[in-house]
Subunit: 249 residues, 2 copies
Amino acid sequence: MKLEIVGVDGLPEIRPGDDLARLISERATLHTGDVLAVAQKIVSKTENRIVRLADVTPGPRALAMAEEAGGKDARILEVVLGETRKIVRWTRGVLISETHHGFVCANAGVDRSNAGEQDAVVLLPVDPDGSAMRIRKALKEIAKADVAVIVTDTFGRAWREGHANMAIGIAGLSALKRYAGQYDPQGYELRVTEIAIADEIAAATELVMGKLDRCPAAIVRGLHLEFTDSGGEETAREYVRSAERDLFR
Amino acid sequence: MKLEIVGVDGLPEIRPGDDLARLISERATLHTGDVLAVAQKIVSKTENRIVRLADVTPGPRALAMAEEAGGKDARILEVVLGETRKIVRWTRGVLISETHHGFVCANAGVDRSNAGEQDAVVLLPVDPDGSAMRIRKALKEIAKADVAVIVTDTFGRAWREGHANMAIGIAGLSALKRYAGQYDPQGYELRVTEIAIADEIAAATELVMGKLDRCPAAIVRGLHLEFTDSGGEETAREYVRSAERDLFR
């Protein structure tokens, strides 16, 4: 089996309202069966998930946390708190949030870098699965290709240093590849029964995306996956471990 | 930028003492600059990290835990405890261990499936970086190619459902790609400053490895990385977050 991962080069600075499917298909030939990964930052920008810090008035909680952390920007904390369903950790100025989607990540995914303008932050899409689905549908139209779409973001992990790309939105593709009920040649059920395949695809595409190369999209070609829109498992919410099942929250 | 990921097909059932570098280079052409990922299971088998359960006498702690969990095999728990430096969680029959290497994973990486024989378990390599380095050195000799090597295993994650492939041993390649001190066009330092590049490569190769296809090795071609053996950052121990820095242990 052989895969190709190709970066989509030459995208312009993305602005609210831009048509990502069109911009990408003008720069890359998409084929049925391809998986397109798109960095959250540009998806969020097209959806105008940009907050100008001059427009933010921090509330008492954000002000108190900023002081506790010794000089964090209270306006950014205010935005982060708005994107946070639950604070998972707040220690030494590091804020690990559970977002409204259920993802656990630093600062609820709010980020000041590569915002495209001064004194602004970019938020995660409100509905990253919906974002992926819109791009998938538009590509069917524009590129005449049945392409699965993953919206990716780079998250830290528990226990392990370094960040890795993960899937926060999915369309057309199941989040998990299931091996449950499959057995090895000795008749033992496989230990690992669910592979986070969209997370692995996201990680793979980060290898060609880079952070400063203005290559926020990449195509994976050669995966023999069945694409569907059953509305069942084609969602990054499949990755959200419920609090009851989670030993680390 | 374009990457290729190619599975190494047709490897035989691996046995203790087998020469993995030779078996792989007989089935795949390796070029200088390639990264070879090899599944932990076959590396461990060549190193005879196989324990026959008939040879294991569970101690009182393993027996008590087996009873607590309502029917777990106390012999397997005995082996797992031997591989465990610290129990991170022991809840509802699920054991999350910190291994002697410092990795946090279920059952200290001990696995019964695909052991190659009945009533046996496979343990992680004692020194996975050393395993990777031995394969790297042998490939220089046999394939006349400067190839970085990653030993991979499939771990669960905190907060997220599904398992993903990660790097547990590295040779020739830095674990982390550092962006610290790099700035976006607006002059803000990048939020994500360390990418777990070997983990992302491991994840990428899982996409062609599969779990039942007897394809426990894959080659990544087209990464423009500098390979070194400085003895500095070319170790999967770089991923081990110290307990003081870890908010989730």
